[in-house]
Symmetry: C2
Subunit: 207 residues, 2 copies
């Protein structure tokens, strides 16, 4: 077992390089040779530490989704179930952790990976995401249902789904809106959150 050291251990370096290259070139487009070269490790290290490329992909997801789920649930606990809970507050608990994750230094490209995974339509990956995401989405949906009692279950599902689409689109950065070079990253993130929350809140509240 390797002792703690100044440079990151091999596993972490592979995960970091994988996240970036998967975001940039896709899961099939990024080869293990590019990946291990970028990480500065031997080609065989991926199969030694992870077993296969597919299991590496899973690990890339698991690491970030655990963070995201944790932060979202914590934020939801803070604002939900209160008499003064607002749609905007619940939306912020849903949106802000995702924006933070998508813009913090090392994991800045993970939301692109996630958007790719959505687009891939792979059933194995869908099941994996559903298992790790399912209970979180259900908690948020339940809170929305409490705040929007006049909406039918089907109507609510639709709207939450459309909110997710707008969020995914905005975060993965393929829209027209790009951060201008003279705007600090944190400010841009706050602006993004504000626009998203206002837009989504209006859509959800629509009679």
């Amino acid at each position: 077992m390797p002792a703690s050291q100044a440079v990151l251990p091999t596993k972490e370096r592979i995960l970091g390089a994988a996240e970036e290259l998967f975001a940039r070139h896709g899961f099939e487009g990024a080869s293990l040779r590019q990946l291990t070269a970028a990480a500065g490790v031997n080609l065989a290290a991926v199969n030694y530490h992870f077993g296969s490329k597919d299991r590496l992909i899973e690990e890339v997801f698991r690491r970030r989704l655990d963070q995201l789920n944790g932060r979202r649930m914590a934020a939801l606990q803070e604002v939900s179930g209160q008499p003064d809970t607002t749609i905007e507050g619940v939306l912020a608990a849903f949106i802000v952790p995702a924006l933070e994750l998508s813009h913090d230094g090392s994991g800045s490209l993970f939301m692109r990976v996630l958007a790719r995974a959505f687009a891939e339509h792979d059933d194995t990956l869908r099941r994996f995401l559903s298992e790790n995401y399912g209970h979180v989405m259900r908690q948020f949906t339940a809170e929305f249902a409490r705040l929007l009692p006049h909406l039918s279950k089907e109507e609510l599902y639709w709207r939450v789904d459309l909110v997710t689409g707008a969020l995914t689109h905005a975060m993965s950065g393929f829209g027209m809106i790009q951060r201008k070079s003279d705007v600090p990253e944190q400010q841009h993130r706050e602006q993004t959150a504000q626009h998203l929350i206002r837009f989504a809140a209006a859509g959800l509240k629509s009679p």
Copy 2:
């Protein structure tokens, strides 16, 4: 030059199979060998008729985007510039042609291809889409600006972008909402359009 015949000509058969396989497995995931086998043509036919796989991908896009652009522009002409033009009407002109295209018999998978292309983040493809989409988006945005004069240009861009995200998400079918087997396709399409228009109109109109 081949005469008109009962079976589709080779070029068309390749384009059809390509659309389906690109949607299902991605651009890199679908090989020319799978593709030509599915189309019932020889492996070399792709390079003979299209020059390369990349140019085939371009042709798949061009064919459907021309349809989509044409229908959207025609629908926009019908409803725009009138004193009684509504947000909902313009949204319908934007949304309904896309839903029709994404669900009509042969081209049913193209919107998935488009969603993939968005996620790919490839600059060449982005430029190509911008060249073929740009003027259409500008026309729609101009009409929204006329109907929502209180919104700043930046605010409007943001909201149109979020509408696009919700539409792309809903159409590519990775959301929770799936057509139930006992609902006819046309009815499901109309429901999708209604939900999308109501949600997006509320988001756009938000003060």
